[in-house]
């Protein structure tokens, strides 16, 4: 098993963090920096691992980057082609909650709102609180739209972590059982799974 996430590439992870600290970034630049960061992780770590038969867990993926950039006025077709370099996941789990719930949890955990998570580079309201709620509502709308298109498994994220975990386990167990039923000859570690899923996803240009 291998893990990946946002802003964790060797290539640009640090550069993005320091550029964001200065808040000096254009929106297209920010989007491309994240795409580069993701591509670096994919090509240097994820694809080789999958070819070796690993299961890869991604904490956020292209859908987060798309939802965030849509909230910043990006063109959906442009985003789809840009992220056409990414592998299509086998399973996409989306933890869904109202912005008010996120607001409460953010304050409980960090004691303050984050500039970027509040969409303050836009901003979407006269106060950070207002902007946070509107920005998160906009993200959620984008996620739901992407979820319909890409078949997210939606999980209600309002209950306790323990209950959410149970639901996630059930979704993953179902998926694995289905996989076994459909392709009993595929053995983990033989590279067969990776071959089947590692083809690049191309989105047609209009």
């Amino acid at each position: 098993m291998l893990e990946m996430g946002i802003r964790r590439s060797d290539l640009l992870g640090k550069a993005i963090s320091s550029a964001k600290r200065g808040n000096l970034l254009g929106k297209t630049t920010l989007s491309l920096l994240y795409a580069t960061d993701l591509a670096d992780q994919l090509e240097n770590r994820i694809v080789p691992a999958m070819q070796a038969g690993f299961v890869v867990l991604a904490d956020r993926y292209i859908y987060t980057l798309m939802a965030r950039d849509l909230a910043r006025g990006a063109d959906l077709k442009w985003l789809k082609s840009l992220f056409g370099i990414a592998l299509e996941p086998d399973l996409i789990i989306f933890l869904d909650a109202e912005p008010e719930v996120l607001f409460y949890r953010t304050l409980a955990k960090y004691g303050e709102l984050n500039y970027w998570e509040s969409g303050m580079d836009l901003p979407m309201g006269s106060s950070m609180f207002e902007s946070f709620l509107k920005y998160q509502a906009s993200l959620r709308k984008n996620f739901h739209r992407l979820g319909d298109e890409y078949g997210f498994k939606m999980i209600d994220a309002t209950p306790s972590p323990k209950k959410i975990h149970k639901k996630i386990s059930a979704v993953v167990s179902d998926y694995l059982a289905q996989l076994e039923q459909n392709a009993p000859s595929v053995q983990p570690g033989t590279g067969q799974i990776a071959q089947a899923i590692s083809r690049p996803v191309r989105v047609e240009e209009d």
Partner: protein, 233 residues
């Protein structure tokens, strides 16, 4: 929403300034000509902004490190240059164009189309990445036979850099040989684009002085209806 307008795709976008870009293989003499143009425009009192490929402060260090350590794949090579371009585009290309300035760019999106495709990237994908960029007023293409531009670069150079020579593409184990093959691929891409992108093709085999005469003439014609922003001169 106002944001949608700001982020719209660039190719049909109008702007009051003028955007002049130079393209061509390494050693085609384009940077020299752009320098002459910059000096001349400034001497005429025009508001001029200059920008060049690979110079954004945000990714410069990361790019340099990645190149030194040979960490880049064709995809990440393409994307990191797109980051560099986007940062310069959003800061020093688009705002001056909106303000009515003359922007001079040493290499523009066509460099990415030519180089990334020569590296094996998918052309529609690369073109999509840069679709936010506006169409230039003039795109000069400095055209010279491969032997000419290659000998200009190799003259007095102890060695070629890894990516510059296209060593990552695996065309040859010999850097000079690889460089020649790689530059040939890039030139093929430029030649293919010359008509569809309405390049002004300049014969770059002549002397600096002769070439400048032609560049100067083309620019003068294109500036005939140009009005500098009021109060700037």
């Amino acid at each position: 929403m106002a944001l949608k307008k700001i982020r719209g795709l660039g190719m049909n976008k109008k702007y009051p300034g003028r955007l002049i870009v130079v393209e061509g293989c390494d050693g085609s003499g384009k940077s020299t000509q752009l320098h002459l143009l910059r000096v001349w425009l400034q001497s005429q009192g025009y508001p001029v902004v200059f920008t060049e490929w690979n110079s954004s402060a945000i990714v410069k260090q990361a790019t340099r490190r990645a190149k030194r350590k040979e960490l880049l794949t064709p995809t990440t090579f393409s994307l990191i240059h797109a980051c560099d371009f986007a940062d310069r585009y959003e800061k020093v290309i688009l705002p001056p164009l909106h303000a009515g300035c003359i922007v001079l760019a040493d290499r523009y999106v066509y460099t990415a189309y030519a180089r990334d495709v020569a590296r094996g990237c998918d052309l529609p994908w690369v073109r999509n990445t840069y679709r936010f960029a506006v169409q230039p007023t003039i795109a000069f293409y400095f055209h010279a036979p491969l032997e000419v531009s290659i000998s200009r670069i190799l003259f007095g150079r102890p060695s070629l850099k890894y990516y510059e020579a296209g060593m990552d593409v695996g065309l040859s184990l010999d850097p000079v040989e690889s460089f020649k093959l790689f530059q040939g691929r890039i030139k093929d891409q430029y030649d293919k684009m010359a008509r569809s992108e309405q390049f002004v093709t300049i014969d770059a085999t002549r002397s600096i002085h002769e070439t400048w005469g032609e560049v100067h003439k083309v620019v003068q014609e294109k500036l005939a209806d140009y009005e500098p922003p009021a109060g700037k001169i």
